[in-house]
């Protein structure tokens, strides 16, 4: 299933003193099986855009063409997604809603919990409200994975995860994407992750889509990105500082590995 966003506009509090044009005429396509990333400074409209794709908001004008039944979304603040008495019940909720029986739902939930690094035997019976910030986030991701969506939207999924957890979750997502041909839409502030995983990058600024291209092309426009509050992958940032201070680096450098190659 491809996702087609056509001339989408969203205005919060229309006609009120604090009217905010959160999305302003967005048109873009996200292809089936693609790893897309949405970047943009805080307040640029990323969350509003993915909530439209998931069908959680009604456009002020324009439209989104997508099959909502196949879309799963992990919200920016996972606290709002957890509501059951126990971790296991919470993750079972989605599959049960889809019509799986108790036993099947539990099996799906346990698999999903293991995928995100939570041991269901150890933590399944705990209240989700008593977890640490990062643990809550893992459980929220499991809750969405358990529903086996075809399109997985993740709104800053690794914010608050420890470094190993951060890498682990992204590797896992990329893995299931490849195995099951999932479409991934990742909202992220981490340029290194975007460089490493994304095949398609959408850059938001002030409610507008200002770039829509491959990571390579997007990160070539360093000055423009920095001008709108974004950054560059780490390797490129260091390489640029070195060049500014007189060091010759002729190769194109984006990632850590690129920089290592250039400095060896």
């Amino acid at each position: 299933m491809d996702i087609k966003v056509s001339n989408l506009t969203h205005i919060f509090s229309q006609g009120m003193p604090f009217e905010t044009i959160a999305l302003n005429g967005i048109t873009c396509d996200i292809k089936e099986g693609e790893f897309a990333a949405i970047i943009g400074r805080t307040g640029s409209g990323k969350t509003t855009l993915v909530q439209h794709i998931a069908g959680l908001l009604k456009p002020t004008s324009g439209s989104v063409d997508a099959d909502r039944k196949k879309i799963g979304i992990v919200f920016q603040y996972p606290e709002y997604q957890l509501f059951e008495e126990t971790v296991l019940k919470d993750v079972c909720f989605g599959p049960k809603n889809l019509g799986f029986n108790e036993e099947e739902a539990e099996a799906l939930a346990k698999d999903a919990l293991r995928l995100v690094g939570i041991d269901p035997e150890l933590m399944g019976a705990l209240s989700p409200f008593n977890l640490s910030g990062g643990e809550k986030r893992r459980v929220a991701i499991a809750g969405v994975l358990a529903m086996k969506p075809e399109v997985l939207i993740l709104d800053e999924p690794t914010a608050g995860l420890d470094p190993k957890g951060h890498d682990g979750i992204l590797e896992m997502i990329n893995d299931i994407k490849k195995k099951k041909n999932l479409t991934i839409i990742l909202v992220s502030h981490n340029m290194d992750d975007v460089e490493k995983y994304a095949e398609h990058v959408l850059v938001m600024h002030d409610g507008k889509l200002v770039m829509d291209d491959s990571p390579k092309e997007v990160f070539k426009q360093g000055e423009k990105l920095i001008g709108i509050g974004l950054g560059l992958p780490w390797g490129e940032t260091i390489a640029n500082s070195l060049r500014e201070r007189g060091k010759q680096i002729s190769k194109e450098v984006l990632s850590y590995e690129d920089l290592l190659g250039a400095l060896k």
């Binding site: 919060f12 509090s13 604090f18 905010t20 943009g40 400074r41 805080t42 307040g43 969350t47 920016q76 603040y77 606290e79 008495e85 126990t86 019976a125 705990l126 209240s127 008593n130 977890l131 640490s132 910030g133 990062g134 643990e135 893992r138 800053e156 914010a159 608050g160 995860l161 420890d162 470094p163 190993k164 957890g165 951060h166 890498d167 502030h189 340029m191 920095i226 509050g229 974004l230 950054g231 780490w234 940032t237 260091i238 500082s241 070195l242 201070r245 007189g246 060091k247 850590y256 920089l259 290592l260 400095l263 060896k264």
Partner: protein, 276 residues
């Protein structure tokens, strides 16, 4: 007065919750934690999810009091002192800004902390303006916090604590939801506060942020696994310790190790070494 602003002695903390059958479950979140923080020091606290960082933070400003051991803030025992006296010394930026934003207008929210400390209203105005401008949120001052994006809320929460002008500020993952320029701005604010002589405790999952501190404490399962300088922590020899705590080397430190540069943990140090 001693030059220690914080003194933590054998601190232990238990959460007690009830399971479905009403039975009490005790979760030992902190075990036998001891360390001291000198005035003006910049300390980073790192460790895996659930290792006890936020629990420790809440014990530093009397939001929680120890189950065992004690916490002294400017020689005041948090179990005995008036919480207001503790909070006028140690301010805290919470992990989730929604837990901190209480008013329906941004500037009232920022004023809330200093009001609680009994600061003169005229001075509060100045402090609020200054704090909002420091986090670049002046234009949003009349808005409702619930109308802001995730990163914008984070900045308001930080402004609220800046306005309290406490000697020590504990930041619990302040940059988790920020864009790259916002992260840089907040780290610049933190370093500026440190230069002004404030004591800063920074809880973070970003190793490059921890690398900029004077001292790093690694928590693991409620215990201190390491306490020392970033240069001592981020070496290849400590790989096992870092793995155990779900941590990684900062990219600058691991690249430096591969290139054979010594004593490099921050980006700035890497650049200088590479230019030599």
């Amino acid at each position: 007065m001693a030059d220690n602003i914080l003194k933590i002695e054998n601190l232990g903390y238990d959460y007690e919750t009830e399971d479905e059958n009403g039975e009490v479950i005790k979760n030992v979140a902190l075990k036998d934690i001891s360390f001291e923080v000198k005035k003006g020091c910049f300390v980073a606290i790192v460790g895996s999810n659930g290792s006890g960082k936020s629990t420790l933070a809440k014990n530093l400003n009397a939001l929680f009091v120890p189950s065992r051991g004690r916490v002294l803030v400017c020689d005041m025992d948090t179990k005995e002192a008036d919480p207001i006296d503790i909070r006028s010394k140690v301010g805290m930026v919470f992990q989730n800004p929604d837990n901190q934003l209480v008013s329906s207008v941004v500037e009232d929210d920022v004023a809330f902390g200093p009001e609680n400390l009994g600061v003169d209203p005229k001075e509060i105005r100045d402090r609020v303006d200054e704090a909002l401008s420091k986090v670049s949120m002046t234009e949003h001052r009349k808005k409702g916090p619930h109308l802001l994006s995730g990163g914008q809320k984070q900045r308001i929460a930080i402004a609220g604590v800046l306005a309290m002008q406490t000697e020590c500020i504990v930041f619990d993952e302040p940059t988790a939801m920020l864009d790259p320029s916002g992260r840089k701005e907040i780290m610049d604010i933190i370093e500026e506060l440190h230069k002004e002589g404030k004591t800063v405790i920074l809880i973070t999952h970003f190793m490059e942020e921890a690398a900029r501190a004077d001292e790093v404490i690694v928590l693991n399962k409620g215990e201190i696994l390491f306490d020392g300088s970033p240069k001592k922590l981020f070496t290849k020899d400590n790989q096992e310790l870092l793995d155990k705590a779900n941590l990684k080397m900062p990219m600058a430190a691991s690249l430096a190790a591969e290139l054979g540069f010594k004593d490099v943990v921050t980006d700035e140090e890497l650049i200088n070494a590479a230019l030599k």
